[in-house]
Symmetry: C2
Subunit: 417 residues, 2 copies
């Protein structure tokens, strides 16, 4: 089944790969307009998904992610227009040189070709991913979850109609049936038929995709992020950064899971932090000093276990530890972290430099919230995911990350000696 | 076992990651000097490998790859000095911007950390890989073949002594024992302990590594490369390019396997090409027209099968086909090629553009030999391999390809709204 989808995508992709920016932008605009014009169709299909999911006993938090409304649809259309406003990532010359033998070398960006997405309930991913892939000249094979089947179907149909209206073949955007699990397996085994598969969703989904895939994948997710408050940290900055990093959206990968405090400022900052976390209804796990300090304030705190230190909570829970110095903080992060996003709060340039040098992370935040590791916040437009691997892309992935390159070597008859 | 190697590499790597260019270059120079000073030790160890391999009945072509001599050692030292002369790939700012909220973003290159190499007989890879990885701030875990065990051991010892002499810890370069196959498996399963594994060798070795690995890998190899001679091709260029592409070193991935000729010039070029190939002792497989033309010239040629068109010969054999036009040539290449290197011989800019647009290759050669897809030829210094995948790196991989990035985000207390 993937073979048939891939073959029609290859044909359509041959047109898309060489579409001009104007054509691709016109397609995206047509998608944005159609999403709003056909809102009632989308809401009807989504309502069907929501009702079916409720009878299947899906959790209210998943129902929330699945549900669309006028505001959310406007948000999705607005996201598409942000991508439209960005430069074309295709045809960019990355390196260029002329060799002594007269050969002219040019490395230019080209699309991957066919990119598969495997993702969970949220139907906005259907449009976000398709639009990013469209603008980067790639065909999209979208495998959403069965709970969003009707929503995804209408969204894909709307997008296919829209691209056709500006002369791009419909098959650049295709839905992979979500009726059973075998379509995921087939997609992950489709060597030569699919150029890349990106998983987006729970840690379990990502693990399955990466482990099972015979095609190239980009691993997203898994963030055990830390906020380290240095002895020279400005506590007036540290407190809001801590609360924002932990509480603003605890379910996502760039939320903080552990607070590390330099022992020299623990006397002042530890009680402040514990009180603020408790006020924000965050459950506290701590080392002995933190647990004792919490007890003094009448705040409940349990002694953190090895498991606590390495857990990505995804909810309002945090670990707190007092460290001797920056080296101990760095050693803790290297032991328990996932190299996603690590923050330091310090006004001391030497401490900041030492922290940066000891990290091995996709992003390092200096006096800023861990929550900023995000494509939209970082000016990429919508993102297709946050890579937590070191090859190809690291951190938020936008248009540029959805390209590969070709070397074009121009000669006048050169041969190798 | 890999765990122990990885742990000592992590410690050593913390020093190497922040070494200055001067320090890394001094280490490389020390390696180059020591290789020549300790030539007799290397030759003695290599002689032991060669003699043992001969008694084990290893083929003469493998013996040739295994054998070192004074010239080859000087060549390896010279290769190291080429890497030394190249700029430091670490700490390069790839993107930089200040956001409206005042956050300053900087994406800088950093080393992967620990890179494993799995490779076959040639002991020069031991030094080439270690030096590229050293200059790019990475620790090397080198898993060569058992046939080169003694040579690899002395080469690694020489390099370890050399780096120590300039203050870099020895454990940035480590040999993985080649005594049995289990060390390869262990390396490929070492998630979290090894950041990347690169296979270099036969198609079978590469396939095994990519299929078995739980760690990130970069796929190298597999080249079914084509030379297409267009109706507007300059035949005086076409003939030497054809012979160079096929014959200069048939065993490598950038050698050509198939010649495609536009029907309009087949009358003149087909006999020229068949005669030149036959003179160069190349076995010919062809379509009906080519086989008939060969017969007319008294040259042996067999009818090419489906299998022929998709075979990477690696020896002096070639497929020849006359095509109606550039579109048919492109369709043939898309069907049977491996997206490695494709050459067009043409003086017509429109044909060249059409060819480029229809290819999906790591490299496209215009009026030049396919043999130029090579790191050293393209000015990368020595190469660590040629990537034939689309993610991370495509085509020859040198220093730049052995880096990843970190986003450094500097704020003044920013939080997300």
């Amino acid at each position: 089944m993937i073979k048939a989808l891939s073959e029609s995508a290859r044909k359509a992709g041959a047109v898309l790969a060489h579409a001009t920016r104007a054509q691709k932008d016109a397609a995206i605009e047509a998608i944005a307009v159609a999403l709003q014009e056909r809102e009632s169709e989308i809401l009807a299909a989504n309502d069907e998904d929501v009702r079916r999911s409720r009878t299947e006993g899906i959790s209210e938090s998943l129902i929330d992610r699945l549900t669309l409304n006028g505001t959310r649809i406007a948000g999705i259309a607005g996201g598409a227009r942000k991508i439209k406003a960005l430069p074309d990532p295709i045809g960019i010359v990355k390196r260029e040189r002329t060799l002594p033998n007269g050969l002219h070398l040019k490395q230019v960006t080209v699309p991957f070709g066919i990119v598969g997405m495997v993702y969970e309930a949220r139907p906005n991913v259907t449009v976000d991913a398709a639009v990013i892939l469209l603008k980067s000249g790639n065909c999209a094979l979208l495998r959403g979850s069965s709970s969003a089947a009707k929503s995804n179907e209408i969204l894909v149909n709307i997008m296919r109609d829209a691209v056709v209206s500006v002369g791009i073949p419909a098959d650049v955007i295709q839905l992979v049936p979500s009726s059973d699990r075998s379509t995921v397996t087939e997609l992950l085994h489709a060597r030569g038929l699919v150029d890349l598969v990106i998983p987006r969703g729970s840690a379990a989904l990502i693990r399955t995709v990466v482990d099972e895939a015979k095609v190239p994948t980009i691993e997203t997710g898994a963030g055990v992020c830390h906020v380290y408050v240095d002895k020279d940290g400005d506590l007036a900055k540290a407190l809001p950064i801590l609360i924002n990093s932990k509480c603003q959206r605890p379910s996502v990968c760039n939320a903080a899971e552990t607070l590390l405090i330099h022992s020299e400022i623990a006397g002042s900052f530890l009680p402040m932090a514990l009180k603020a976390l408790n006020d924000a209804k965050v459950i506290i796990h701590g080392d002995q000093q933190s647990v004792a300090a919490a007890k003094d304030l009448g705040i409940n705190a349990s002694l953190a276990t090895e498991e606590n230190w390495s857990t990505e909570y995804g909810v309002l829970e945090i670990n707190v530890r007092v460290v001797d110095d920056i080296d101990q903080a760095a050693a803790h992060i290297r032991t328990y972290g996932t190299n996603h996003t690590e923050a330091i709060i310090s006004e001391n340039p030497k401490s900041i430099e030492s922290f940066i040098n000891q990290m091995d992370a996709a992003a390092i935040m200096i006096n800023a919230s861990t929550r900023f590791t995000d494509g939209e916040e970082m000016g990429f437009g919508a993102e297709i995911g946050i890579s937590n691997q070191k090859t190809h892309a690291r951190g938020p992935m936008g248009l540029e990350e959805m390209t590969t390159t070709t070397w074009i070597v121009t000669g006048t008859g050169q041969i190798r000696g």
